[in-house]
Point group: C2
Chain length 168, copies 2
């Protein structure tokens, strides 16, 4: 395959995968495009390359900036804003993990913590079972939270070292 074709393919593929990851197609595509681009791109260039509307490009770029995956770049002499993506995959992964933790785990913990406060007769079998289930979910999500928080705040070397540790 030719390089440009391969890049295109990457952008398409990343877009499809994004949907599996709870990330909108456009968001994943723009990210892929910027990831593959040595130089920052303007909103117009993004629109053109992906055939998307200005509104979409604008909103999605903002989202990407909020996630911390993309940065605004000002070129001297140019009035337009340009955008470039974080190129270090480990940093990218951390960003995504952080966002997904927020959406998926933190929300769940909040909900479960509420449920753990339900009071009832401890002799009631039903109640006991309920509390038991809730408590064990709480405990488990606590562990995952601890782990993820650690990963999200660590560097690549720590991760790789830990990986080795776990297999010895």
């Amino acid at each position: 395959m030719e390089l440009e074709a391969a890049k295109d393919h990457f952008v398409q593929t990343w877009g499809t995968l994004g949907t599996n990851w709870g990330i909108s197609r456009t968001m994943a595509q723009i990210h892929a495009l910027l990831l593959m681009s040595p130089d920052p791109l303007s909103t117009e260039e993004v629109m053109d390359k992906l055939h998307i509307s200005r509104g979409n490009a604008n909103m999605t770029l903002r989202d990407l900036i909020n996630w911390g995956l993309v940065q605004k770049v000002i070129k001297t002499g140019e009035r337009k804003e340009f955008f470039s993506a974080e190129k270090d995959i480990w940093e990218v992964a951390k960003c995504i993990a952080r966002e997904r933790k927020r959406r998926e785990l933190d929300q769940m913990k909040k909900a479960i913590d509420q449920l753990a406060e339900v009071t009832g007769d401890p002799k009631d079998k039903n109640y006991a079972a309920f509390i038991d289930t809730v408590k064990s979910i709480q405990q488990f999500s606590g562990s995952v939270d601890t782990l993820l928080t650690k990963v999200i705040n660590s560097d690549k070397n720590w991760f790789l070292k830990s990986l080795i540790k776990l297999f010895t």
Copy 2:
């Protein structure tokens, strides 16, 4: 809050959270309902409690069985099929992790492996950058794959022990 109300609340909450987790609302709700129910429930009971159609209940129950989260139970003397959920949260988590790995990571690895095969002039800066990015994604997803595979096939104690190991 009263116990039944709390259970209801749990079912609703789990349903909402499910959508964040790439699991359909109904699927998450049925799972929650069965998780909270001491006895197996029939299709009809599930339909009634969640106000969903027979078709939906049936298909979703099948999905849950395929995921390994729910089991068919035959009661002697009854013709109907009953369903009960895996109650051990660690097993539940492993099931979900397994499915999500398949959807999210395995597909990505397949796509990336293809891209890594693109050939080009190693002196071309663009090409070098492309390969570099692809290779690092490949390496990273390989590590995550190894880790997840290990977790999915381990028991709870291993997980907790490892957790402690990582913080010492």
